[in-house]
């Protein structure tokens, strides 16, 4: 934890509503007295339960002030080198994409090909290559793991632990109106992280979700700042970048989604600003790509420190339901990406990283539904290949926005992406009977091409079905 000086703490305190409430109470308590000693204050604070509040408040401020350091180096050396390899690969892809784009300009007839630097399948394929590089370590420990797609020795949370953690969702019932109103008031008045997390874990009313997110990300009193920052970025957008073109192609894809076509313009604006935002490099919790390519100046990484990938617009889309103000949508997206979604594209041994999540899913499916796991393996469509899309894009496009926002709530509520593991397992369980009948990859694809409707609560229930 970084040390803060007293002045800083005081400044932070003053920005909190609760601080002023406490001050008011103290003022009332000592209205007659001339001299006040520190003992008097302590006694008074104890007598009217201010002490507790004060302690919570200060600890909250300290936690918030902890600068989220970027995780640059991984503890597992092998992953660091892999990350560099991955970056090199992406640079190569960039060259190809650039070439293709050029050709397309010359030849207008061929505008169908969808350009992107990498997608979820590329990433998974790259992760898959890991097992060959480290065979000796892994076979020593566990033998039966050999049938899994990913076999790397990284510290993992036990699968049971995750399942236990989210089991409470199963018991959630519909809340009566009074309780919802109570939650609304709570969101309005609450400032503490831990309390907001608790609310997010259980239930967030649609109308108050935006406020809760803003408070959690400490944006609640900074609207003008957000607006100014966004305006600056928008100005910068007048300078065309090569990546803009890719984003436009990407945005066109999201516009095919019934729920998000309305927001195509907003999404594109947000993304264009995003790849120009210099503050992202400082804020992002994990670096997605490593290494620089020096020879061609025009093909550098964007200022964000990573390449925009296919379907990046999917992360922005559901947030459009939260506010009509584009600077707020942008701020929320930025924060969500820097805190959570970045892990879905990072090669790392962190608990939240795509590698861990994938391995958790494989672990749960192979132990709890071995038949399905084996069957999928046999027909050449591994479990992970099946759900990688849903996993990486948080089910955006697979569920209706209300359900997606519930996932976002859970991510904030637990400050973790583990809910995705539960949902992916539930997803596989839901289609298990159909999948078991599938004879090849085409059949599997057919199953998911049919009209289907997945719901948050339903998938959680399926996840716990034996």
């Amino acid at each position: 934890m970084q040390q803060l000086d007293n002045q800083e703490i005081l400044m932070k305190l003053k920005s909190q509503k609760q601080f002023w409430d406490i001050k008011k109470k103290i003022k009332q308590g000592f209205s007659d007295q001339q001299k006040i000693g520190i003992n008097d204050i302590q006694k008074f604070a104890q007598s009217c339960e201010i002490e507790d509040q004060l302690i919570k408040l200060i600890s909250h401020i300290l936690k918030k002030s902890k600068k989220r350091e970027t995780l640059k180096e991984d503890q597992i050396e092998f992953l660091n080198t892999s990350k560099i390899k991955w970056t090199e690969l992406l640079f190569k892809n960039l060259d190809i994409v650039h070439q293709k784009a050029k050709n397309q300009e010359e030849d207008d007839t061929n505008t169908d090909s969808k350009l992107y630097i990498y997608d979820e399948k590329n990433l998974l394929a790259f992760l898959q290559t890991f097992k060959q590089q480290q065979p000796s370590v892994l076979y020593q420990n566990v033998q039966f793991q050999s049938n899994k797609l990913l076999n790397i020795n990284i510290p993992l949370k036990s699968a049971q632990q995750i399942l236990d953690k989210y089991q409470y969702i199963l018991l959630q019932e519909e809340l009566p109106e009074e309780k919802i109103n109570k939650i609304r008031k709570q969101i309005e008045n609450e400032h503490l992280d831990t309390e907001l997390e608790k609310i997010a874990q259980t239930y967030v009313p649609n109308g108050e979700r935006c406020l809760l997110y803003l408070k959690y990300f400490e944006f609640d009193h900074q609207e003008t700042v957000l607006q100014q920052n966004f305006a600056k970025l928008q100005k910068e957008c007048s300078n065309q970048l090569f990546f803009d073109e890719l984003l436009e192609i990407d945005g066109h894809e999201i516009s095919e989604d019934t729920f998000y076509f309305v927001f195509q313009e907003q999404i594109l604006t947000c993304l264009k600003c995003f790849i120009r935002d210099k503050t992202i490099k400082e804020n992002i919790r994990i670096q997605l790509q490593n290494g620089m390519k020096k020879e061609h100046a025009e093909f550098q990484l964007p200022v964000t420190g990573f390449f925009p990938f296919k379907n990046i617009s999917k992360y922005v889309a559901p947030l459009c339901y939260l506010s009509t103000k584009i600077h707020i949508i942008y701020a929320l997206f930025k924060e969500f990406f820097c805190r959570y979604f970045c892990f879905l594209h990072a090669i790392s041994s962190e608990y939240n990283s795509i590698l861990s999540l994938c391995m958790q899913i494989e672990e749960i499916v192979s132990t709890r539904s071995p038949k399905l796991f084996h069957h999928l393996k046999v027909i050449g469509c591994d479990t992970l290949k099946l759900i990688i899309h849903q996993l990486i894009y948080c089910f955006v496009g697979d569920m209706d926005p209300p359900h997606i926002l519930t996932i976002y709530d859970q991510i904030i509520g637990h400050d973790s992406l583990e809910i995705l593991v539960i949902l992916c397992v539930g997803f596989l369980n839901k289609y298990k009977p159909k999948l078991l009948l599938a004879k090849n990859y085409e059949n599997v694809q057919q199953i998911f091409q049919e009209l289907r409707e997945d719901k948050f609560q339903e998938l959680v229930q399926f996840a716990y079905k034996q």
Binding site: S255, F261, E265, C320, L322, D400, L451
Partner: protein
């Protein structure tokens, strides 16, 4: 879906079995598919039970035909009183005046959901005065919208803010004044501050089913659409119709129209979006206002429309929200489009139509008191239906559409009710039947004894005769129990088999009534009917096998398979 009804209700419990029903329609879209999914038969002749006709047919043919008591048709004779733009406004204005005259000014003030409207050319002078007044009063030019009467899909509509812009139209009209074809228009004050989402204008299409005008019986469908324009809204640019008109037919011709997209949201999505900006209460109020707007529209024409038990009508209301979330009625469609442009849209419309058919109840299985049928909620029966006080909804419009679950529930309870009434009816019939026979026999006996009496006395074999009589009686009883009551018990038992999920109380009731009936009718059943019972049991089993839901399921699958095929066809057509 109706398949739940087919699954749970036994064939003989239908007052009118679905396999006997015939439909007629010239439409080849969701309407045909919805009919087929109910396993009704198509007919070309006049022996239809339900006809989904085009409006023109109603005008040309309906007045000259005599309908059978059971025939149903999808329009009221003079539906145009509500669905033609000019007549609708005229009726609203008239009704509002009447209310004012009766001193009901509060209710009259509620009729503020249509924009200021004039009929052209007849009201041109008044319009001109109003136009001048509006343009002098406000700094910005007021925009007006011209709509041809009796044209649909946005044809012929244009927007203007200078009186010169309609002079051309005026000239052509004057020129062809003798021409009876001369087109009449209405001119409406344009709602210039519509609510925008993502910078785009939208309107809502909401479905309302009217099954009767006396008493006014209305069902509101929970799901509707918000239809978006494909271009950013710009109140300055009034010449670009793509910006202003949301009609799919218009948007289809736009350059950046994407077929896959459809440009639609369902109401649930819209509600979710609105809640984030305006809060739950305000949105709930808005949707309640929409519901009341629809009821009021129908109340205004209630006395004008010719009520007819043969008719029902599915209206498509076009409603616009302005920036203050006030709903405005743009138009009422008597034949809302039942052509779909996406698979989701297709399922929604088929479901909607299926629920309409369930409410029309050609099979005559419902009580008519159901408050929700599929995705439809009863919102008015004589007077507007009030929701329970503790309900969190002020209206079910835009609420979660739980039609599948609801239909399942309603099909089950209906099946139980029908089974009960059926068995009761059977019992009565048997009682009446056996009573009549007994009386007859007694009469016979008396007759015989009176006629044979002396003979018997003479032969001295009265005892013999008595026993003879007894056996005769027995044989009659035997025939009775073997035929009629046997069927009764058989059906009762098979009912129980067919409704595995009905509640235990009702099951007991049925069982009791069943055992009672057998006791009443067959006091000495055990001793006399062992052989017959065996036979009964055998037939029972075979009957039960016949009614296994699996068979129905496979049948249903076949139909659905057919459905999928024609769905593809539809896609191809599009």
């Amino acid at each position: 879906m109706s398949e739940y009804f087919r699954k749970y209700i036994k064939k003989e419990h239908y007052a009118n079995h679905y396999s006997n029903l015939k439909f007629k329609t010239s439409f080849r879209n969701c309407i045909l598919e919805a009919f087929k999914r109910r396993l009704w038969k198509e007919t070309e002749g006049d022996d239809w039970d339900i006809m989904w006709a085009e409006k023109e047919w109603i005008h040309e043919v309906l007045d000259h035909t005599h309908l059978q008591a059971n025939q149903k048709i999808n329009h009221f004779r003079n539906h145009y009183e509500l669905t033609r733009k000019d007549l609708m406004i005229k009726n609203f204005k008239r009704y509002k005046k009447n209310l004012e005259r009766e001193g009901k000014s509060e209710e009259a003030n509620n009729y503020n959901f249509f924009p200021l409207t004039f009929h052209l050319p007849s009201e041109y002078p008044i319009f001109f005065e109003e136009f001048k007044r509006q343009s002098t009063n406000s700094d910005t030019k007021t925009a007006w919208i011209m709509k041809p009467i009796g044209k649909s899909q946005g044809k012929g509509i244009f927007i203007f803010n200078k009186i010169q812009q309609i002079s051309q139209w005026k000239n052509t009209l004057r020129y062809s004044q003798d021409n009876p074809q001369a087109e009449a228009y209405i001119v409406q004050k344009y709602i210039a501050d519509p609510l925008l989402i993502g910078g785009k204008k939208f309107d809502m299409r909401i479905y309302l089913l009217c099954t009767s005008y006396q008493p006014l019986t209305l069902y509101l469908y929970r799901t509707g659409f918000a239809r978006f324009t494909h271009h950013r809204y710009d109140s300055e640019d009034i010449s670009n119709t793509y910006v202003h008109l949301t009609n799919v037919a218009i948007q289809k011709t736009s350059d950046n129209y994407d077929e896959k997209l459809g440009g639609k949201w369902n109401l649930q999505t819209l509600k979710l979006y609105l809640m984030t900006k305006y809060g739950q209460e305000k949105v709930a109020e808005t949707f309640y206002n929409i519901q009341m707007l629809m009821i009021r529209s129908l109340q205004a024409v209630q006395k004008i429309i010719i009520n007819d038990k043969h008719c029902f009508e599915l209206y498509g209301f076009d409603i616009l929200l302005d920036a203050q979330l006030k709903p405005w009625l743009l138009e009422v469609n008597a034949s809302p489009s039942m052509t779909s442009n996406t698979p989701v849209d297709f399922e929604l419309k088929c479901g909607l139509l299926d629920d309409v058919f369930t409410i029309i109840d050609l099979e005559k299985v419902l009580t008519g008191n159901e408050e929700q049928i599929g995705g439809f909620d009863l919102i008015c029966k004589g007077t507007p239906v009030k929701l329970p006080i503790n309900s969190t909804f002020t209206t079910y419009l835009g609420a979660f559409n739980n039609r599948q679950q609801q239909l399942k529930k309603i099909a089950k309870s209906t099946a139980i009710r029908l089974a009960q009434t059926y068995s009761e009816g059977q019992m009565k019939a048997i009682e009446i039947g056996s009573k009549g026979q007994k009386e007859k026999e007694e009469k016979d006996k008396q007759m015989r004894s009176s006629s044979k009496g002396p003979q018997a006395m003479q032969n001295g074999s009265s005892l013999n005769n008595k026993s003879n009589n007894l056996t005769k009686q027995n044989t009659i009883m035997k025939r009775n129990t073997a035929n009629l009551p046997a069927l009764g018990t058989l059906q009762n038992k098979s009912n129980l088999k067919r409704q595995p999920l009905q509640n235990a109380g009702q099951q007991q009731q049925i069982q009791q009534s069943q055992s009672n009936s057998s006791k009443k009718n067959n006091p000495n059943e055990d001793s006399m009917l062992s052989a017959n019972q065996k036979l009964q049991k055998l037939t029972q089993e075979s009957k039960i096998n016949q009614f296994q839901p699996y068979k129905q399921q496979s049948q249903y699958n076949e139909v659905m398979g057919m459905g999928a095929g024609s769905r593809n066809l539809q896609k191809n057509e599009e």
